[in-house]
């Protein structure tokens, strides 16, 4: 009898370990209306024509990005996040207007690393992103049928060490540590992510479907740390500034 119970436990253990937890999450993107910056206020007074032109461009981007969709694919402890490429073939101009600098990247996460494959400055880069430290706050809100917790993290956005706060709303009901743009490390799926003036939000959640999910780690590109990538940017902008007399 005892032997049978042991065998049953071993069988159950193998069965649980071999079960896959996988999913496909579709995200949308929208702009957050913020107050005019001091620069914009000044421009509005001193150069109203240019102010109007910039506002027109920003509105065109905001409208176009509403049609952008992204996919997060995860299987157990690995995930990939990328823009849905269908739109590009539908309307090239709309796609180019909509897409933001970091939207065209491919984000890979597993338990030990965060990678971003990005075409920048005419080269393909594979950027090793640092681990994130999250602070979970008291605020709660419901997104769809999921109760979500608020968390923030601080990232370094440039070679001078400028910081930016990123806000995430995540649900422990879906216990995977992934989210849009490679943001990860929370005890649940990120359903909403606020990055600077943009929000990435979950539109459709499909868990454990029959569909085969392939999560391939990107391997091509110049391997750099985030800081090294920021230094490439600093040098590129310095040259651009010098060569065009800004």
């Amino acid at each position: 009898m005892k032997k049978n119970i042991y065998l049953l436990l071993i069988f159950l253990s193998i069965s649980i370990n071999s079960q896959e937890f996988k999913g496909i999450i579709e995200y949308g993107k929208k702009s957050i209306k913020k107050e005019l910056s001091e620069k914009s206020k000044k421009r509005k007074k001193e150069n109203p024509e240019l102010f109007k032109k910039f506002e027109k461009v920003r509105n065109a981007i905001s409208e176009a990005e509403k049609k952008l969709t992204f996919k997060l694919l995860f299987k157990n402890n690995i995930s990939i996040f990328k823009v849905n490429p269908m739109l590009q073939s539908d309307n090239k101009r709309a796609y180019e207007t909509a897409i933001g600098g970091y939207d065209a990247g491919i984000y890979f996460n597993d338990t030990s690393e965060r990678l971003l494959q990005l075409n920048a400055y005419g080269e393909l880069f594979l950027i090793k992103k640092p681990k994130l430290k999250w602070i979970i706050l008291k605020e709660r809100k419901k997104i769809g049928k999921y109760n979500c917790l608020k968390a923030t993290t601080v990232i370094i956005i440039n070679s001078k060490g400028k910081k930016r706060v990123i806000t995430a709303w995540f649900t422990p009901k879906i216990p995977v540590a992934f989210g849009p743009l490679g943001y990860s490390g929370l005890s649940g799926l990120i359903l909403e992510l606020e990055v600077y003036k943009k929000i990435y939000y979950a539109k459709k959640i499909t868990l454990n479907s029959e569909e085969e999910i392939e999560v391939k780690k990107p391997t091509k590109g110049i391997l750099v740390t985030e800081n090294e990538f920021q230094n490439v940017g600093k040098e590129t902008m310095r040259k651009l500034k010098k060569n065009n007399g800004f």
Partner: protein, 49 residues
């Protein structure tokens, strides 16, 4: 647009693109470069055509 090239045509619009790009990027060098390029390619080149 290439960092090594200076652009002689439509330099006023390029200056606008730089201003737009640096403002949108808000200190993030890659975003600044990206939005400067985007503005130039989508809105300055269009004006020239």
């Amino acid at each position: 647009m290439n960092a090594n090239n200076s652009i002689e045509n439509n330099s006023d619009c390029l200056a606008d693109a730089w201003e737009f790009g640096t403002e949108e990027g808000d200190g993030d060098e890659y975003s600044e470069w990206y939005y400067t390029n985007k503005y130039y390619n989508m809105w300055c080149l269009e004006e020239m055509e």
